[in-house]
């Protein structure tokens, strides 16, 4: 039972990430009938933007009580991730897709594939192809201030990283836990740190306090963020002038012009909002799975596309439902199969795609249209 619950939570958080990505797929398809295959790369760039902010931010404790600085750091990183993805999407739309407006769908589709490959390769050039470990949302405490924390326990962990040289002369990175929820920080531990060096031979100068949230708590945060984003998106689409304009352009671009709507602006904004959500998905992915690299957008992007098709492409609730369903299936099915099948995890999504295309091609929430891509 506990195993089932754990796997269910894992599936839900994976599904939430798919949902975050699928929303952008479905919104862009809804408005210009384009499957934007570069969407997975927006997600990747978001993950990298979050990475750089979290690496740089040893958010100092500006006198705030314990978990707040962490939440602040995470919030800033998430915003940076979302904005980077959003801005990139606006640029891509302007340079690559807008000139093709009015040309055949296949031309736009191939361009989207091209943009996807292009962004992956730019990613390699800019970020290098190496996998990077994702930093945790953590707070840096300088040794000068450490005295204030002696005797305290921490909801997360307090730890230091430093380099030790073995008798054979080989350097290796060590992570030492100084304190935690059950273990108070001691003056001795702080005193010892003064003699530790980092990889460059400099004194370490301080230690980190990590996120106080448990695995389950993090999953719940992810679910709540998705619910919140979905709620805000729903309000945007159904309760604002922009949302009405979006739906009008999606239904009949020419009639929308006759209402005075600049459809190019609405389309651009739709790309922004969709990629903004993918950026949030990117940072959650990084925090959750711990590794990022420039090709990371490919598989999740493809899965999210499948999720959007399952939900009914063009449907916003469909994207959320399809994403969550796919994430849960993808975790639960291999979890209950003999372990030699665990390598077939990715097959689940594709089998689900084939099944939906055979039995309900318009998707679970979609209305039937004659022709689709």
């Amino acid at each position: 039972m506990e195993y089932l619950l754990d796997q269910l939570l894992n599936g839900l958080s994976l599904g939430c990430i798919y949902a975050f990505i699928a929303l952008g797929y479905t919104m862009v398809y809804g408005i210009i009938k384009l499957i934007n295959f570069a969407h997975g790369e927006f997600f990747m760039v978001g993950a990298f933007a979050g990475y750089f902010v979290l690496s740089a931010a040893g958010i100092e404790a500006i006198g705030l009580p314990e978990p707040l600085p962490m939440i602040l750091a995470f919030g800033i990183a998430m915003l940076a991730a979302a904005l980077s993805s959003g801005v990139l999407a606006v640029i891509v739309e302007r340079l690559a897709y807008r000139p093709l407006m009015g040309s055949s769908r296949i031309a736009a589709l191939l361009t989207a594939l091209g943009v996807s490959l292009f962004l992956q390769n730019v990613g390699i050039q800019v970020f290098s192809a190496e996998q990077r470990g994702y930093p945790e949302a953590r707070r840096y405490i300088d040794l000068d201030d450490a005295a204030d924390y002696v005797g305290q326990t921490f909801p997360g962990l307090a730890y230091a990283t430093f380099t030790v040289t073995s008798p054979t002369g080989k350097d290796s990175e060590v992570r030492e836990i100084l304190a935690g929820p059950d273990k108070a920080l001691t003056a001795d531990a702080v005193a010892e740190l003064k003699y530790k060096k980092d990889a460059d031979g400099e004194p370490v100068g301080g230690f980190y306090v990590s996120s106080p949230f448990s695995h389950t708590a993090k999953t719940l945060i992810v679910i709540v963020s998705l619910a919140l984003s979905f709620g805000l998106l729903w309000l945007l689409v159904h309760r604002t002038q922009f949302g009405r304009a979006m739906r009008a352009v999606s239904y009949n671009p020419e009639a929308a012009k006759l209402m005075g709507i600049q459809s190019t602006r609405v389309i651009s904004m739709t790309f922004f909002v969709g990629a903004f959500l993918a950026g949030i998905g990117g940072i959650i992915w990084g925090m959750r799975y711990g590794k990022i690299e420039p090709f990371m957008g490919f598989m999740p992007g493809l899965k999210a596309f499948i999720a959007a098709v399952i939900g009914g492409i063009g449907s916003i609730p469909g994207a959320v439902f399809g994403g969550i369903l796919l994430g849960v299936l993808e975790v639960l099915i291999p979890a209950y199969l003999p372990s030699e099948y665990s390598g077939y995890k990715d097959a689940v999504a594709f089998i689900a795609l084939i099944a939906i295309l055979l039995y309900r091609p318009q998707g679970l929430f979609g209305r039937f249209e004659g022709e689709k891509v």
């Binding site: 304009a245 739906r247 009008a248 012009k257 006759l258 600049q262």
Partner: protein, 234 residues
Amino acid sequence: MLEVKDIHVYYDAIHALKGVSLEVREGEIVTLIGANGAGKTTTLRAIMGLNPPREGAVVYAGQDVAKLDTPGRVGAGLILCPEGRQIFANLTVHENLRIGAFLRRDVARIERDIDEVYGFFPRLRERDKQLGGTLSGGEQQMLAMGRAMLSSPKMLLLDEPSMGLAPLFVKQIFEMIETIRSRGTTILLVEQNAHAALKIADRAYVMETGVITLSGPAAELAANPEVRDAYLGV
């Protein structure tokens, strides 16, 4: 108010408008009648910038509008209520009206104006939250007219507002057109119901295969034997 000067419009190789000129003065109802395929809709689309003329000019409120795109023309008060209604089927009746007011800044008055449209067409009020696509043809035409009114038109172009409607609806729509004019909106009306159109119009133009063949006061054209023969079915 609106002057169309010798415009030529092409669809690829097809020369659809071959030098059309017409004028609508402030406060007038002018009707443009003619057979299917004569180029009436194309003329309205050219005025709105949806099919920009290759030659000739459209002058609105004293200015050549060539530099304005379609939304820009809408912003200047030049509104087209298009053929086939073009209701947003995926928006509710209320949202369709709201989107008509997309460019308006006087947000506080929009709800009041919507209420007024509902006063004219009580059936729309009953269907306030229904999707536009679920309305009957007549209701959709009312909605299209209401939506155009919400755009605060100074110059309203109406393309076949009575097409396919039951006689009761046709009567309501024509009453509505006169009401809109009485509030200071100038109207260019394209109609195949030439009888009704000539009755409410001040002046009229007759169009055949891309050119204007006749023009004059509406009453005069209504009495013209050629017009009576070809368009009034008498």
